[in-house]
């Protein structure tokens, strides 16, 4: 069961649509808790174990999720792979003993069980189709509420341990690729815009404190006093505004500094095609430049879908699970270089 999940990519990585050049994926999440139980903040290990068992048993009774996995049953590199696919955060993994994951076979419906909130329902899409994703998440929510009975009151809505999530309990997010804004130095404007606003943005592939590859995740920080539709609308406006800024910066790159831009893209392509050792940092930044080249129509023999696949294949967790040779950092870097070289026909 797990082997099949590990071998296959989530459907949202393979299915590309409008905005896919810039949007790696978008996600709608609903945070819920079981009525009649304390939040995990105040539960003992024994109580957490009891809740995990209840959740796993309950999820097993629903037909929508073919895979229900207690995280303690996985190996370290398998947990890392799920973190790389964004199913669970690294913060959550710092204590995985009482956590569970429920996934459908396509890996676009993901439920995190027994974390800070008892249940986090997420639906993921490879495009920016937020309305459909939200309505899917809404149906799952109804189905799960039938089984579990969520903590809710009329004044405050769905009750959560974090007061940042109470009310709708809904967080919308999208991972966007913004290399042109980073190269032109205009990314600062995006941050300035958000500073006292209701959204947050952060790097996705971070090595230490540095954001590598110019991938960023935008999400809403407000959940109360608004309806789900209003959150969607506000989010959509914000993300489209950021995408527009990226498009403007891309235009600047091609029109004003065309040679320099092409040089950066082809140099990166050349290194990827010929390198014998590739660290994650190098890999992320070089493929980011090539991805920009593909979106601008400069690189024509690779597709966004190829790049998506290579991107995940080459992350440490994926490399280690899918290849027996990746035993240490050095071998991992050699393997990463070989993988991408073979893909590029180098």
């Amino acid at each position: 069961m797990i082997d099949s999940l590990l071998d296959h990519f989530p459907v949202w990585l393979e299915k590309v649509g409008p905005y896919s050049e810039m949007v790696l994926f978008s996600k709608v999440s609903l945070y819920r808790n079981l009525g009649g139980y304390k939040f995990n903040k105040k539960n003992t290990d024994k109580e957490k174990e009891e809740i995990l068992n209840l959740l796993i048993e309950g999820m097993g009774a629903l037909s929508s999720f073919e895979n229900v996995i207690p995280l303690k049953d996985l190996k370290d590199n398998e947990r890392e792979l799920f973190a790389e696919r964004n199913f669970i955060s690294r913060d959550e993994l710092s204590d995985y003993r009482f956590l569970g994951l429920a996934l459908n076979d396509l890996q676009n419906d993901v439920i995190v069980l027994n974390s800070e909130e008892h249940i986090k329902i997420s639906c993921v899409s490879g495009e920016l189709s937020l309305k459909e994703t939200c309505s899917k998440c809404d149906s799952l929510d109804d189905e799960l509420n039938g089984e579990f009975g969520f903590a809710y009151n009329n004044k405050l809505g769905f009750l959560t341990s974090s007061t940042n999530k109470v009310g709708t309990g809904m967080v919308v997010s999208a991972v966007v690729h913004l290399p042109a804004l980073v190269i032109t130095g205009k990314f600062v404007d995006v941050i300035d815009d958000l500073e006292d606003s209701l959204f947050s943005i952060g790097g996705v592939f971070n090595i230490g404190e540095t954001v590598e590859g110019s991938y960023f995740e935008l999400s809403n920080r407000f959940t109360l006093g608004v309806s789900e539709e209003e959150i969607l609308k506000m989010f959509e406006k914000k993300i489209k505004n950021i995408i527009e800024k990226e498009v403007d910066s891309r235009e600047y790159l091609t029109q004003k500094v065309g040679y320099e831009t092409e040089d950066k893209i082809w140099r990166s392509y050349g290194i990827l095609k010929n390198a014998r050792i590739l660290s994650v940092t190098d890999f992320l930044n070089l493929t980011a430049a090539v991805r920009l080249g593909v979106s601008l129509g400069i690189v024509k023999d690779i597709s966004i879908r190829d790049l998506n696949r290579w991107l995940f294949q080459s992350l440490p967790g994926h490399l280690s699970v899918l290849n027996e040779d990746a035993k240490n950092k050095k071998e991992e870097n050699i393997l990463r270089a070989r993988l991408i070289r073979n893909n590029l026909g180098g």
């Binding site: 048993e57 039938g146 405050l156 709708t168 920080r221």
Partner: protein, 155 residues
């Protein structure tokens, strides 16, 4: 000085009850401090600064402030005023405007009940109270049937 809460024991600690904008200082004894869920860090230290506590789960307001996480649904009542201040600063309103749950399930409550009955059953068996054990086992079976019916209705 006598404890300002029970009036019986000698006060040992200064207890600070923190509301949204006021701080009330109370002299209390060790027993009352423990009952309030105060984290007594050092026995020599006679001054403990602590804050309001949720009676249902024992979470202190300070713990909530530090982590941003509440301990149970009752915390929303226990710290209502303070949380309202937070909502005004960080949320778009203080009232829910989103969806309501379509149907509220009894499944989780019945399951919790079954779980507790099973624990009790283990005790009965351990202490060889077989007559009670048999009765309880029948009750558990009946509850399981009820669970099945609710699930079928939900489908």
């Amino acid at each position: 000085m006598k404890c300002e809460l029970c009036g019986a024991n000698n006060a040992k600690y200064k207890y600070y009850e923190v509301d949204s904008d006021t701080v009330r200082e109370i002299n209390i004894c060790e027993q009352c401090a423990r009952e309030k869920g105060v984290d007594i860090k050092s026995k020599e230290d006679s001054v403990v600064v602590e804050s309001k506590t949720c009676p249902a789960c024992g979470l202190t307001f300070r713990e909530y402030k530090d982590s941003g996480n509440l301990g149970c649904v009752e915390c929303y009542k226990s710290f209502e005023d303070q949380i309202k201040v937070f909502f005004k600063e960080s949320q778009l309103g203080i009232l829910h405007k989103g969806k309501e749950p379509v149907r509220n399930s009894k499944v989780i409550f019945v399951k919790k009940e079954i779980l507790e009955m099973k624990k009790k059953l283990d005790n009965y068996v351990e202490y060889e109270r077989f007559e009670e054990a048999v009765k309880l086992r029948d009750k558990i079976e009946a509850r399981k049937e009820e669970l099945k019916t609710i699930r079928e209705k939900n489908d």
